[in-house]
Amino acid sequence: MRIPIGVWLRRSSSTSALPAMIIIELVILFSRSGWNHEWDWAFEQASGGTLLLAPLLSGLVAHDRARRMEPTFALLAGGSRRGEFGILALALSSWLMASLAWLIGIVCAAGLAWRGGASGVPDPWIFGEALLLLVVASCVGLAIGSYVKGVLAGPLAAILVFGARIYIGTTGLGLDGALGAGEGTGSLVAERRTPMYSIALMSLHATIALLAVVVMWGHLPAVRRYGVGRISVVFIAVLLVVISGIRLGWVSSRVDPYEWITGREVCIQGQVTVCGPPKAKYMLEVADRSLSRARVRLGASGIDDWQNVYVLYHGGRVSPDRGMLTLNPEDIRNGVLGRYDVAATLAEPRACRELFGESPLSKKILADQGDVASWVTQVLNAQSTDASAPAQIREAYERIRRCVPMTDPW
């Protein structure tokens, strides 16, 4: 395959479109912040570019198949020993180009995440999911370009791949995440990809790619005959797609795409102690520093029993002696936690059972937390010159501190 892949790497539309693909990838990567302190979210964010890369790739492959390979290359491929591979080389080389754009995004994301203090071992699943999604896009483009002639092939393939992802994304169809990759939109330091879910998703994508290749192969004029053999091959490929689709539906009804990391925990000990999953080490350091500083500012508040241990929830039971760490990575600036997160953390010295249901008491606790957090924010913003907490704030904090703790896993 060296010769045809080499030729298409130099001559395919995907090669011409590589700069555009890189721009798309980087624009989507930098379209939001906060991901640069952890590996998984960074790689999910970089893979989010597949939302546009996949349709573009599919359109380009369909265009090349319909416009450049037709009629001569396709005819000669039909009468050649390696004809099928000669056509597949177009999809493969175009996939390599799109993967290069994705990889550039991944490298940028990795570099920034490394600088941003990301720790632990990244989840490997997103790499397989993103690359396999691009394989699907490329193969679907090849199949559409085989059947649809002329300039419509490219736009049609692009619209189909994009439309299918949006349709499944909005309606679900019981196939959460199908035709997608990199859909994590928030911090993943406390979670990891559920392997069973990822395998089911990749199986569906692999079978769709296989079906597209079979459809392309069936269109070769040398093969074109509706014999038992051809129909059987198509039937088996369709059956595999259906089975893997049903399996994904079954899996997604039983497990979440992401699961809590309930295993090992690290704790950062300063003036307060902040614990969480190992992947959050940098953020825990930031939180510890920020909470410690806040505690100094609040020294004259008159509240003596601030919580000393906080945890970033990562599944399982939470000890009643621990407060809940609120952490939005987007709000970390210059190694300091956002003021709202500091205030919200200090206002939650215990995970209260009432907050997991709706009752007059839960509303009261929420209101108390809001009052405490607002006052803490005012002090931290130095808008209040008197750091002494008013009586109603002290009472509100006391009520939160003495609430009935939630001891079951969430």
Binding site: R2, P71, T72, R81, G86
Partner: protein
Amino acid sequence: MLAVDSLCHSYGDLKALDNVSFSLDPGVTALVGVNGAGKSTLMSAISGAVRPRSGRVSINGFNPYGRDRRKALRLIALMPQLTSFPKNMTTQEVVEYLTWMRGLRPSEARRAAMESIAQVGLGPRARSKVGQLSGGMQRRVGLAQALASASDVVLLDEPSTGLDPEQRRTMVDLIGALDRTVLMSSHVLEDVVEVASRVLVLNAGQIVFDGTVEQLKSLAPKGTEPGKAAEVGFLNVISSAR
């Protein structure tokens, strides 16, 4: 040896090939017919590119639509009527690519491509993009890719179509020098007379004449200009077939 037995093909209700049978030995054989007679369909069907509805093709005993397809395809090469290769590929890339598809190893494909490009006189344009070549040169790229795989049987579908007289002369000389089993479709009788030893006339998907050039010429009325005898003989065959 190439043998075609009871070949039939149709596009919807239109019969393109109707029970076509013949066999060929080394040498140049011309396949002549009016537009739409089924020449390109026959060429494609023989080359293994378009599966016929029924009938059998045998290339040195191998069937391009049977279990020995890979062996058969190694023995045959087609220059299609339409040589519209991707315009941004170079001559060398096109020929190498198609030669590799025919089953040669990469190093062999590279060497054979350069040799055949030189053979058709495009050596200096090997690195030129196809879009920068004239129509005649693009036809020669088509011929080069058919010759590169050193197949025993070469099918040339209207190789001189669209060429100016000088380019046509070059093409005819190239074909005449081939030492293989060649089936060349054409409706330019001048070319046929010059290079072919045998002529097949195809009309409405049927072989209506199978003989030597001299036999075709002999079908012209006595007194016909010698240079026009083949053409008149061909027209007589066609009109009597209708």
